[in-house]
Amino acid sequence: MKNPSHNRDRKGALPAALPALIPFLVITGALELAVRGGLVRAYLVPAPSSVFRAMVESRDELIQAMLTTSASALLGFLLSTVAGIGIAVFLSSSRAIQRAFYPYAVFFQTVPLIAIAPLLVIWFGYGTRTVVASAFVVSIFPVIANTLTGILSTDPALRDLFRLYGASTLVTLFKLRFPAALPQILTGLRVASGLAVIGAIVGEFIGGQGLGSVVDIARTQQRVDKVFAAVLLASVLGLALFGLINLISYVTLRRWHASEQT
């Protein structure tokens, strides 16, 4: 007989983060020494101290850029969550529909963004909309794939049970298949969250603004320190979004799914 031990987990949050910090500190320290000692050329890989300095110097610009990218990535992610789940529900309705339309969903996975970039700009113009579209295109497929798998993996006995009591397809979808698919859906969202950030940054290379623009311009100016600063912030953004999904997963699954139980 198990008891949810989430209280125990909460207390352990800070010590839990410590192991992850140690490699970071070690690598940063080693890199700093390497650059200062001339082992690594500063114009190829910047000293962490110069990255930090760049962050402080350009903090207004970087903060603004980070907010812009966050908004676009988040919006793109939300759109791909809603659309992805919707498309998966549609695909789950019949074998024939799956066979007819699933290959086109795979298109989202494989299309190289750079190739369709000019099209995106023509359709959505320069600015936020292209960035959001880019984040959407890049992140939607894992949502579709995982949600579909989750919905189709429903226990057949439970489906029989619902049939036995005359539940309609819609009721079965909302009361059985969807909740049962939740762990799988959240897995898909975890993957999609990181991709949404990447998609937003690439979209910003194409459409301007945000951290992507900072990276692009700094690269042209040969300011490696600023490039690294912006890239670091983009990683932080990705981590934050990932952490958000984990939080949602914890809250919704902790009572009943093995993945959130000790």
Binding site: Y43, P118, Y126, S213, Q221, Q222
Partner: protein, 308 residues
């Protein structure tokens, strides 16, 4: 192979040992007429075994040369100066373009009269904002009336789509493409505002110059001869390049090669040889970049290039 031949062969190889080492030349774009001289150059004749590495959007040639992943690279003069100011010891050897082939293209229907005009009227301007000329333009004219967007890197579809769209370009390249697709194009060279860095400069690292001194001179000689060959008859080289870059039709290669001539062969080159550079030009550029704030400590002009 009997023993005597083997020894002979080995001796020969050792004799030209140094010059039969693989030399990498990194380009900063796809094979196009601007690199004609390098594809036409008779490297073998000068005892060089050269591997040309085509590039694309964002190929970091100046870093590649600095890091040693290419012995020679094609860079722009302003880019080279910025690199030197960051501690990257790259040295210019040979300049294909005496005059900067960069420009901004607009729709002729707008009836604009100068580069300044572009920034006085509302519209979209696509350019790489981090480049020195862009920052110079911002300083001179201000960007408050226009919307600056990233450069589409050679793609003209956004330009065709919008009459008020202006785009950074290579004078001999994108405008010709846009014209073929039906646009009425007007081009303003960046050199109009007095910014005229040497472009498509073959550069090497200080390391290479010091450790392999016998490499640079024949390389420059080969490039010079290649440029002459290409100017006189670009056709065979264009054919070779077109096979490497099939996205561009052969007749466009011909047209572009013709259009870029006046930027390459000038009074200066007739006097001092193709690809030659002067200290004065470098010092002018250094001053401009220093005023812009793109470089902090100004290097000495003569340190930035070597004449062979």
């Amino acid at each position: 192979m009997n023993r005597r031949n083997f020894v002979l062969g080995a001796a020969l190889l050792t004799a030209c040992g140094k010059s039969s080492q693989k030399i990498r030349l990194a380009l900063n774009w796809k094979p196009e007429p601007e690199f004609g001289p390098f594809y036409a150059a008779p490297y073998r004749k000068y005892g060089l075994d050269v591997d040309i590495l085509p590039g694309g959007a964002g190929t970091p040639t100046v870093q590649m040369v600095g890091a040693g992943s290419a012995e020679f690279g094609i860079v722009a003069a302003d880019e080279l100066l910025v690199a030197r100011s960051r501690g990257n010891d790259v040295v210019a050897l040979f300049a294909v373009f005496q005059n900067n082939p960069q420009g901004i293209m607009v729709h002729a229907s707008r009836k604009l009269t100068s580069i300044a005009d572009i920034f006085r009227h509302p519209g979209t301007v696509a350019m790489q904002r981090g480049l020195s000329y862009a920052r110079l333009l911002e300083k001179m004219y201000g960007f408050d009336k226009v919307k600056i967007v990233p450069s589409p890197n050679g793609d003209v579809s956004a330009f065709l789509h919008d009459k008020n769209f202006a785009q950074q370009c290579f004078i001999a390249s994108e405008p010709l493409i846009a014209k073929r697709l039906g646009a009425d194009v007007q081009v303003f060279p960046i050199s109009d505002i007095g910014f005229n860095p040497y472009t498509d400069v073959m550069a090497t690292s200080g390391d290479v110059l010091r450790s392999k001194p016998e490499m640079a001179k024949p390389m420059v000689a080969a490039a010079r001869e290649g440029l002459r060959i290409y100017l006189d008859d670009p056709k065979p080289t264009n054919l070779r390049m077109q096979q490497l870059n099939p996205t561009m039709p052969l007749d466009l290669f011909t047209e572009t090669a013709e259009a870029q001539r006046p930027l390459i062969e000038t009074e200066e080159t007739r006097r001092n040889g193709l690809g030659s550079m002067t200290k004065e030009r470098w010092e002018t550029l250094i001053k401009q970049l220093k005023d812009l704030g793109d470089i902090q400590n100004a290097p000495a002009g003569e340190d930035c290039f070597r004449s062979f």
